[in-house]
């Protein structure tokens, strides 16, 4: 008997795909129609021409980068230490790392404003630098569930305890062990976590808006209220950006040691080995 085409499954799959793809196509199509009667990238051009766009995007990018750095500095040693010294505490730490998913960002930011607002013992919201610091801390908190998971999975894939002992028996201090042995071996996991952090914080709205920072998220919302075509263009660009992040994550996750992103550089690995 020849295999029957599972009609119902195909129909459901097509409907499901259409549910995601049709609005995207429609948005893309709409974003090309800024000039009446022709398809053009006029909306994209006008977005890029805007000074505000460039300034909010760079503000958010810098804040996200800082959040990534702070996140790595907090998460990597913590995950390492938990796995090495107190493995019994792992479920607890894992649960704690999930808290930001449970507590809504709006609660988090109101907490910040109350604790660090005017009249508090540490009035951080009084200065720009203080508020920016709070913003970065907020981004770090939001990204910790993803960062911790990525790094912890990366550590699970190598035998941390034995590698640490091997490095120590060769005379390496704990700091050198982390820097030269542990860190490079979970680099792809860290990069994955970094891309996730970046895509979360770049378009973040709640914290950015309530701290009144000139970030990309509030700008997107503002544009949506004021214009027709540009928000569509921005939405498409945001999608493209997120997908690029996903692809890069995949590439880095599958990279083997000694393998370079570009093949032509393989000849340099020999020279690099000789210090």
């Amino acid at each position: 008997m020849s295999r029957q085409v599972p009609v119902l499954s195909v129909v459901i799959a097509v409907l499901g795909a259409a549910f995601f793809i049709v609005p995207l196509i429609a948005t893309f199509n709409f974003s090309l129609r800024m000039k009446r009667g022709e398809l053009s990238f006029e909306a994209y051009r006008s977005v890029f021409e805007s000074d505000v766009f460039v300034s909010v995007l760079s503000f958010s990018a810098v804040a996200s980068m800082l959040a990534i750095l702070v996140g790595i500095v907090i998460v990597v040693p913590t995950a390492y230490w938990v796995r090495l010294r107190v493995p019994r505490m792992r479920p607890v730490v894992e649960f704690l790392s999930l808290m930001p998913l449970i507590i809504p960002p709006v609660v988090l930011v109101f907490g910040y404003v109350r604790i660090y607002g005017t009249g508090s013992f540490l009035p951080m919201t009084m200065t720009d630098t203080g508020t920016n610091t709070l913003l970065v801390i907020g981004y770090v908190v939001l990204s910790i569930p993803y960062m911790y998971r990525a790094v912890d999975n990366g550590m699970a894939s190598i035998d941390i305890a034995t590698l640490t002992e091997a490095a120590e028996s060769l005379g390496a201090s704990r700091l050198r062990t982390i820097a030269f042995v542990i860190f490079p071996n979970i680099r792809s996991a860290i990069v994955s976590g970094a891309f996730l952090t970046f895509s979360i914080s770049l378009g973040e709205f709640v914290i950015t808006s309530l701290l009144n920072r000139p970030g990309f998220g509030p700008y997107l919302v503002q544009m949506g209220q004021d214009y027709a075509y540009q928000p569509a263009a921005l939405a498409i660009m945001a999608f493209a950006f997120t997908w690029t992040c996903m692809v890069l994550m995949e590439v880095f996750a599958n990279l083997k040691p000694g393998q370079r992103l570009l093949r032509q550089r393989t000849s340099t690995s020999v020279e690099k080995a000789l210090p």
Binding site: L163, E165, A166, E168, S169, A172
Partner: protein, 353 residues
């Protein structure tokens, strides 16, 4: 003057004592093995020498200096692990160079030392490979080179052959011994495989329940086990319960055997006597001095060896004979004599548990 001294080492994890009253002195350049079943504490002792565990009490001295409180990174030890533990992000060359870089050697010195080490393990042609591109045996050789490169005081091997298949295990075992002799480095080798321990070591420490049961040369351990555990664990053994019937004679398997050294046996206590399968023969050999009557239960021809199961006074006894001229495969059910030499009889007093 001994090079490595362990004095009165005890290690307690929670409520369990895994190592107790452990004393050992190792001479410089000696190859010593810790042999025992899993959970006997052999790896824990090794890890205490390495500095990965702190003894609950006792002291460890290397080259005269007390290192008990020193962290692993400052003990100048080379360690090889069962799981290889090569750094996956580094090439073979970088792995071997790691300890030298940490020690702050210059680039040129490192390069020449790394080449020297790779020659020693005959893997120079794989210097730019990464660990995932190597076989298990190759990885373990790189691990050995990496451990030896910074010229450590001590080489510690933690079941380095257990993850490898049989053929590679034997060849790497011989390589390890050859390199150890060449460098004259004091080495501690942990294994649960008696053949491994007996074949490469200067001395063997047989461990049991956290204690060193017997310390001796491989032939002492095999031929003159002093405790029942050592006798059982190392090699195959046929045992008989015996009764003392005179100052120098024992009664077992239905006969009186005289002319024995019974100084270790307390008067009128129970005694176990034991014989290795290869110490017995169904044909009298020039050195044989005593025989026991028996009946052949089963026999098999294994090429170089003929193996027979013989019922001696109700005890099934396993006998291995070399296949040479005049030795025939015994017929099943045949009456026979089991020959052995007095010297091969292992006497285990009841107290030696």
């Amino acid at each position: 003057m001994s090079f490595l001294t362990l004095t009165d080492i005890t290690k307690v994890f929670g409520t369990t004592t895994v190592v107790r009253d452990f004393d050992l002195t190792v001479e410089a350049g000696e190859f010593i093995s810790f042999l025992g079943p899993s959970g006997c504490g052999k790896t824990t002792v090794l890890r205490m020498i390495a500095g990965f565990e702190k003894p609950t009490s006792g002291t460890i001295r290397v080259g005269g200096a007390d290192v008990t409180a020193l962290p692993a990174s400052r003990r100048k030890i080379g360690m090889v692990f069962q799981a290889y533990a090569l750094f996956p992000n580094m090439s073979v060359r970088e792995n071997v160079a790691f300890g030298l870089k940490i020690a702050g050697m210059s680039g040129r010195e490192i390069a020449s030392r790394v080449d020297e080490m790779l020659d020693l393990i005959a893997l120079g042609h794989l210097a730019d490979r990464y660990p995932y591109q190597l076989s298990g045996g190759q990885q373990q050789r790189v691990a050995l080179a990496r451990a030896l490169a910074p010229r450590p005081n001590l080489l510690l091997l933690d079941e380095p052959l257990s993850a490898l298949d049989a053929q590679i295990r034997t060849s790497l075992r011989d390589d390890i011994r050859r390199i150890q002799r060449e460098l004259g480095i004091t080495t501690v080798f942990v294994t649960h495989d008696q053949e491994e321990a007996l074949s490469v070591s200067d001395r063997v420490v047989v461990m049991h329940a956290g204690r060193a049961d017997q310390i001796g040369t491989p032939s002492e351990i095999y031929n003159r086990p002093t405790t029942r555990f050592v006798a059982d664990f190392v090699g195959q053994l046929n045992t008989f319960t015996a009764k003392q019937v005179g100052p120098q004679s024992l009664h077992f398997a239905g006969v009186d055997v005289g002319g024995l050294d019974l100084s270790s046996v307390a008067a009128n206590s129970a005694v176990t006597v034991a014989l290795r399968p290869e110490a017995m023969s169904l044909n009298r050999r020039p050195t044989d001095t005593q025989s026991l009557p028996g009946r052949v239960l089963q026999s098999s021809f294994l090429g170089s060896v003929i193996r027979a199961q013989v019922n001696v006074a109700g005890t099934p006894v396993s006998i291995d004979m070399f296949n040479r001229a005049g030795v025939t495969v015994p017929a099943q059910g045949a009456q026979t004599e089991v020959w052995f030499a007095h010297d091969d009889l292992v006497i285990l007093p009841e107290s030696a548990t």
